[in-house]
């Protein structure tokens, strides 16, 4: 009988995820929805007035051009990034399937107890690591060094942590956030929402691990993984800085509140500027649509 993997506790990051998705999708939808009509209106203006359209309706034309550019460029770049990520994920899964080794019976038993039977793969590597991957049916990949180095209780802590990521479909949710939020460079605070989601998920996963295996085994596992070589350090993109996230995770284990993280003044200022720019672009686009006699839009005589 397959055991259902249940999520652990409150504060699971759901709020951050849906907030980020709602804002990003809302902005993207507004841009795309306006983009088609704006493009048509721009075409009509240039076709009938040439470059003189810019002189005659500077505010409207400028706003519309910005909106059209941001909409098209952002959509194309996000689509390209999504396709690359999907291909990388498929390639990664294929690589794992080709190099999978048999999980030792002890580790397999722990995985089964945690509802991860047939969801844990092991590949031969001298580096201690554990990752959750896969979009539709997430799985856990561990290295032979991790299985060989960790004590059974520590391995239980790691697999319980990863079980939370499996249940939460975190690779898929992270990909969604990257796809909807990416390239909205005029709203840098969206990246902060993604970081908060990532942290919330790590803390939820640690709570599950602590409840399952205890604080000391989880701390021991963290120590063995973070003491490893730098190879696993990713390019900092959407995630928190390594030290800041680890600090927050340790603070939770110590039953202390984490250091409050606020967005920098610069990012806040950039986001406000981005909202103002977007507002100007939308206002200009609405005005352009109002003064352009397109058959799909009512015109102002």
């Amino acid at each position: 009988m397959r055991r259902r993997i249940r999520s652990a506790g409150t504060g699971t990051g759901r709020g951050w995820f849906w907030s980020a998705v709602a804002i990003a999708v809302g902005v993207r939808t507004a841009l795309l929805g306006a983009g088609c009509c704006v493009a048509a209106a721009l075409w009509w203006q240039f076709a009938h007035h040439g470059a003189g359209a810019l002189a005659a309706h500077g505010f409207a034309m400028g706003g519309a051009l910005v909106l059209a550019t941001v909409s098209v460029a952002g959509g194309l770049l996000a689509g390209r990034s999504l396709i690359r990520a999907l291909r990388a994920t498929i390639g990664f899964a294929r690589h794992v399937r080709r190099h999978t080794l048999t999980l030792p019976s002890g580790a397999a038993a722990i995985a089964g107890e945690l509802g991860l039977a047939d969801r844990v793969a092991m590949i031969g590597s001298a580096t201690v690591f554990a990752v959750t991957y896969g979009l539709s049916r997430p799985r856990v990949l561990v290295s032979s060094a991790l299985v060989g180095t960790l004590e059974p209780a520590e391995l239980r802590a790691v697999l319980a942590h990863e079980a939370e990521h499996v249940h939460g479909h975190d690779p898929l949710r992270t990909l969604v956030l990257r796809a909807v939020g990416l390239h909205q460079f005029y709203l840098p605070l969206l990246a902060d929402l993604r970081k908060r989601f990532a942290l919330a998920r790590e803390l939820a996963a640690d709570r599950r691990a602590r409840a399952t295996a205890g604080t000391a085994p989880l701390a021991g596992a963290l120590l063995k993984v973070v003491d490893g070589p730098v190879w696993l350090q990713t390019t900092p993109t959407a995630g928190m800085g390594t030290a800041a996230m680890l600090d927050a995770r340790i603070a939770q284990l110590e039953d202390r509140p984490a250091r409050a993280t606020r967005p920098s003044t610069g990012r806040l200022a950039l986001t406000i500027a981005g909202i103002v720019l977007l507002g100007w672009a939308l206002a200009g686009s609405v005005l352009l649509l109002a003064i352009t006699p397109l058959t799909c839009m009512p015109s102002v005589s």
Partner: protein
């Protein structure tokens, strides 16, 4: 990240060595089994490229450099490439290297020794 045949050979030499190697050390090891010996400059160029790709660490020693592997094996290269190229889009991982933060390690050791 696809490695060329010579790059792969050099990485194997470095993994097997278990310690820092100079260009001459790597060249001598490779030429021990080759019919056509490799030139010093060829080996030096490939080592330099591998260091730029982040697969080897390069440090000064005397008037030259010594090289040590920055990754443990080929499996590590493949996993790292996906994670580096696509960040956390495809995977979530248990923890990342804490990069010489003694305070974080100290706190983890304290938790390790404390009550469970």
């Amino acid at each position: 990240m696809a490695l060329g045949a010579l790059e792969r050979e050099i990485m194997r030499v470095c993994w097997q060595a278990g310690g820092p190697l100079t260009v001459r050390d790597v060249r001598d090891e490779l030429n021990g089994t080759r019919a056509t010996p490799l030139a010093y400059t060829t080996v030096m160029t490939v080592l330099s490229n591998l260091a730029k790709k982040g697969l080897l660490d390069r440090t000064h020693r005397g008037r030259g450099y010594v090289y040590t592997p920055a990754v443990a094996d080929e499996a590590a290269i493949a996993v790292r490439d996906v994670l580096r190229t696509y960040g956390d889009a495809a995977v979530t991982h248990f923890a990342e290297h804490a990069a010489a933060d003694p305070d974080l390690r100290r706190r983890l050791r304290r938790l390790l020794d404390g009550p469970a």
